[in-house]
């Protein structure tokens, strides 16, 4: 499966915006823009939030990210780059 990088970026952006705003409805529109360069801890994601975000991305892109890959991905941008490599 090849997914264009722009779409990967949009999906990561949406998942991240949702993860950073626990009050949002899962079906509702995503909140504001989240900076893809910020690391997850500075966005206020705790360890549970970081597992949940990973699961959401795995579902969206239908792939499994092994833990020893996931731990190296600290920002939205890292995730986009990693997914682009896996999906193209």
């Amino acid at each position: 499966m090849t997914v264009p990088k722009a779409e990967i970026e949009a999906q990561v952006q949406a998942a991240l915006a949702f993860a950073c705003d626990e009050s949002a409805e899962p079906s509702g529109a995503a909140g504001g823009e989240v900076d893809l360069a910020s690391d997850f801890e500075s966005l206020g994601l705790d360890s549970v939030g970081r597992v949940e975000l990973l699961a959401r991305l795995e579902d969206t892109f239908e792939l499994h990210v092994p833990p020893d890959d996931a731990i190296h991905l600290n920002t939205g941008r890292d995730v986009v780059r990693y997914l682009a490599r896996r999906l193209t």
Partner: protein
């Protein structure tokens, strides 16, 4: 779904146990025919691996024979929910070495922080070995930044059978890491005799029967997962279905599917997990699941929010989850695991206490909604546990008074590794100061927070939770991201409350001003005390423990030293 094909094919073989420690955990399996551990993987499509407890004993003996550690020495194990990790932990116990189950990485990011914590833990406990499952080997290779890790042994290199360590007496079993609010990791020393007393009474108070099945997704580096599930299932010789914690956090429905499939009857979780599952699954149709086998859903390890747990019961009602299944309890690693238990079958029961009386450390029930706070009853004490409520000078408080919870009994642990022991010379059962504040309501325990977190302003005692709940009711404040604490104020001649709140990143300067005002007014209305300062912070500013609890004392330190990130508005009044 039914699990007939999962039963192991080969018949049980007779096992000769060779030490009092083996007797404790494998005695029931040897006497009554070994039950089975079902190990699930992260991949939801994979069938579980089935290991009968006689086979698990062989594996643990193999680990005991090949671990590069001496009896009495602590060693770290990256505690995944895989057979490799489990064998290493049990093998260490059968050898008389001290396993220290540590958190493996989970989710996205955080490698350098995780490695640093692991190195700090090894240093603090004097651990000379790190046992790592094969799948995580690449994370501990090389130098890395900061402090070095201890020498690594791969869990996959441990032998799969061994002779056992004959005659090993029951001394120390393992070290339980506590995720306290202080920086240095501490290892609680757990004795086999602590475990024996607690495992027996937990089972007895749960009405355990031979056909019971334990279902758990709890991590083995937490006491509830290691003691409450793995060692509990072994001690009572019950089937155990074990899922990795990430399986639950990623797809919470897997917990429920495992209960349904195995006809699970005993399944615990920390209090946060119930609202977490309800939030994730509220729009799903759960009527295809049958959870009627679930007898006890233990709920503890952190403060319980009644409304959130009630929401869980509502969401699970279509799956035949009976609300009486919910069993709130109180406990802590320093007392092995469990201290008090709700009566079986009753479900969550709450009581309304007068907030104004609580500020004077008195327990008074009330029906006045303006003055009430809802508190969850945590049941009577387990047998053999003694509890005293004391004031800050260590003197017992009167009836209907709030006091610090002190405990004594066979489940109270000797102390922390490399720290002075709790017991004085010659004392057999010392008193433990838990640091929690508690009281009695109708013969049941209620826990009202940590004594060091109490805000004493103008001679009244205020729980930080009251300020935090008020703040979180204001739109724009991030739920679960607030911290209230007291700071000295020389002008007022007393301590004054400060309330820190993370606000959503998209709020404008203008709306921040309004949020600060609203938080101050709401908190003043609820507590009768005006916060001295409402600090609005960027998301992620408030420090948390690895399990996600807000670290109030650490937040206070950062605040006092001016190092809290993104403090924007709401100047001291």
């Amino acid at each position: 779904m039914t699990p007939p094909s999962m039963a192991p094919a080969e018949p049980a073989t007779r096992v000769e146990l060779c030490s009092p420690v083996e007797e404790l955990y494998f005695g029931a399996a040897a006497a009554r025919g070994a039950r089975t551990l079902y190990l699930y993987a992260d991949d939801p499509r994979a069938e579980p691996q089935a290991i009968r407890y006689d086979e698990l004993l062989r594996r643990a003996r193999g680990a005991a024979a090949s671990l590069q550690v001496e009896a009495g020495q602590p060693f770290l194990v990256l505690a995944t929910s895989e057979l490799e990790s489990i064998s290493a932990i049990l093998g260490g116990m059968l050898l008389g070495a001290l396993p220290v189950p540590c958190a493996p990485p989970a989710g996205l990011g955080g490698l350098s922080g995780w490695r640093a914590r692991l190195a700090e833990t090894a240093e603090a406990l004097g651990a000379q070995l790190l046992v790592v499952p094969q799948g995580l080997a690449s994370l501990v290779e090389g130098e890395g930044e900061g402090q070095p890790l201890p020498p690594v042994q791969l869990a996959s290199d441990l032998a799969s059978e061994g002779p056992g360590v004959p005659g090993l007496e029951r001394g120390l079993s393992h070290l339980q890491l506590t995720s306290g609010s202080t920086a240095a990791p501490k290892g609680v020393q757990i004795l086999h005799s602590n475990l024996e007393a607690n495992l027996f009474h937990i089972g007895w108070s749960s009405g355990v029967e031979a056909e019971d099945v334990v279902v758990s997704w709890l991590p083995l580096f937490h006491d509830m997962g290691l003691v409450g599930c793995l060692l509990f299932a072994l001690y009572w010789n019950l089937d155990l279905a074990l899922l990795p914690p990430t399986a639950f956090l990623s797809r919470p429905i897997r917990w429920l599917e495992a209960v349904d499939r195995h006809r699970g009857s005993l399944s615990p979780a920390p209090a946060f997990a119930y609202p977490y599952l309800a939030r994730r699954l509220r729009d799903r149709d759960l009527s295809h699941l049958d959870l009627s086998s679930w007898k006890v859903a233990y709920c503890g390890a952190e403060p319980i929010h009644a409304a959130a747990v009630e929401r869980f019961c509502e969401v699970l009602a279509p799956a035949k989850f009976a609300p009486g299944t919910m069993l709130p309890c109180y406990g802590l690693a320093e007392a092995t695991l469990a201290v008090s238990f709700n009566p079986l079958g009753r479900g969550l029961e709450k009581v309304s206490l007068s907030r104004s009386a609580l500020t004077e450390h008195r327990i008074v029930k009330t029906t006045d909604p303006q003055d009430s706070t809802s508190v969850v009853l945590l049941g009577p004490l387990l047998p053999e546990v003694q509890l005293e409520l004391r004031d800050s000078h260590g003197q017992p408080v009167g009836p209907d008074q709030v006091g610090q919870v002190w405990l004594r009994g066979p489940t109270v642990t000797p102390g922390y590794q490399d720290r002075p022991p709790l017991a004085a010379e010659g004392e057999s059962f010392p008193w433990l100061d838990t640091g929690d504040l508690g009281g009695w309501v109708d013969g049941e325990l209620v826990v009202l927070g940590r004594s060091k977190d109490v805000i004493i302003a103008f001679g009244k005692n205020h729980s930080p939770v009251e300020f935090e709940r008020a703040a979180e009711s204001v739109s724009g404040v991030r739920p679960g991201a607030t911290a209230a604490f007291a700071v000295p104020n020389s002008r007022a001649g007393t301590e004054v409350p400060v309330l820190c709140c993370e606000v959503r990143a998209e709020e404008s300067d203008w709306s921040r001003g309004a949020i600060a005002c609203l938080v101050r007014e709401t908190a003043t209305g609820r507590t009768g005390v005006r916060p001295h300062h409402v600090a609005l912070l960027e998301p992620g500013s408030i420090p948390r423990t690895t399990s996600g609890k807000v670290r109030r004392a650490k937040t206070r330190d950062l605040y006092l030293s001016g190092r809290l990130a993104g403090s924007t508005s709401g100047a001291p009044s």
